[in-house]
């Protein structure tokens, strides 16, 4: 198994495949993110194909078998649930949109703007960092560390993060000490 670090944008359009049938039952439309927990809680979906429309069903994280380089695997068509029947922590209306949030150090220095989230794939997918650009520290990746605070408009990081921004996914994967880290 290859543990994959990927940008959130790379997940968009990835097929959701039922491992019991081999059929693609949806495509990823967006990642649902709980800012208070710093965790992925599921995915919104769209129908497959060109200009696929948004689906009323969503994919809770608990139903995901694995997020891989080529597909998001589930088992059984019952993996998808209606949005209003999704787990409470998967509130797609209140999901934090961290894109365009400012990244600010505890001392108040703005490091840049969040351009994307960095997702660790596999059987327990989670957000492990943010891609940041447009600030004085240059473009890079900020790890989602224990001391990070996140609101609907800003990401607060320790002052030391100003000098810890990684410039690439490879470095970020290494920082996570992934045994088989092979970034896309």
């Amino acid at each position: 198994m290859t543990v994959v670090v990927m940008r959130g944008a790379d997940l968009i359009g990835r097929p959701v495949v039922d491992g019991d049938t081999g059929n693609a039952i949806a495509e990823i439309r967006d990642v649902v993110f709980d800012a208070s927990k710093g965790a992925i809680t599921g995915f919104t979906l769209r129908k497959r194909g060109f200009l696929g429309s948004r689906m009323k069903q969503v994919l809770p994280l608990a139903a995901v078998v694995s997020v891989g380089t080529d597909a998001v695997m589930v088992t059984g068509s019952g993996s998808l649930v209606k949005a209003d029947e999704a787990p409470a922590d998967m509130d797609t209306e209140r999901s934090a949109n961290v894109i365009e949030d400012r990244v600010i150090t505890e001392s108040g220095r703005v490091l840049g703007i969040v351009r994307d989230v960095i997702v660790l794939g596999g059987s327990a997918p989670r957000i492990v960092g943010f891609e940041v650009s447009g600030g004085p520290a240059g473009d890079g990746i900020v790890s989602l560390g224990a001391h990070t605070a996140l609101s609907g408009s800003a990401l607060i990081v320790p002052d030391s993060y100003e000098h810890r921004m990684r410039s690439d996914l490879t470095g970020h994967a290494a920082e996570l000490s992934l045994p088989d880290g092979v970034p896309e």
Partner: protein, 137 residues
């Protein structure tokens, strides 16, 4: 043993009457087993097939009575992606190696590698799915 690509186009001949009723046009799989054979003239369950690896496909028409036409099932898996349950693409199916009894012994990939057929979990409209590989000894 016979390759799926070789099986395609074989004449399908009824045992007992020796009548050629059509040609093999596809197969329907359930995990690593062929459950039915698509003919140009209909469908024959694999239980009626006498042997898959001959020069023609022979079958018992008495056991093939009432075989329904398969719907929305993959009859030619060549070209399908081969995914594992991690969501990683292992390759693209180039051909299948089929035993005389209709078991998929091996999956041949476009890059020349083969995967044991016993790992075949499902074949669908998007991909063929593999079970998780056993841990190396």
């Amino acid at each position: 043993m016979i390759r799926f690509s070789e099986l395609l186009g074989h004449d399908a001949v009824e045992l007992g009457t020796a009548i050629t009723v059509g040609k093999v046009t596809g197969i329907v799989l359930e995990r690593d087993r062929i459950v039915s054979v698509e003919l140009s003239a209909g469908v024959v369950p694999s239980t009626a097939v006498h042997g898959f690896d001959g020069d023609v496909l022979t079958f018992d028409p008495l056991l093939a009575v009432g075989s329904p036409k398969s719907l929305n099932e993959v009859i030619d898996p060549r070209g399908l992606k081969l995914l594992d349950m991690h969501g990683d693409c292992v390759g693209t199916i180039d051909d299948l190696i089929i035993s005389p009894t209709g078991i998929i012994e091996a999956i041949e990939l476009g890059d020349g590698h083969t995967v044991p057929g016993v790992r075949l979990r499902a074949v669908g409209n998007y991909a063929a799915i593999l079970t998780v590989a056993p841990a190396p000894a």
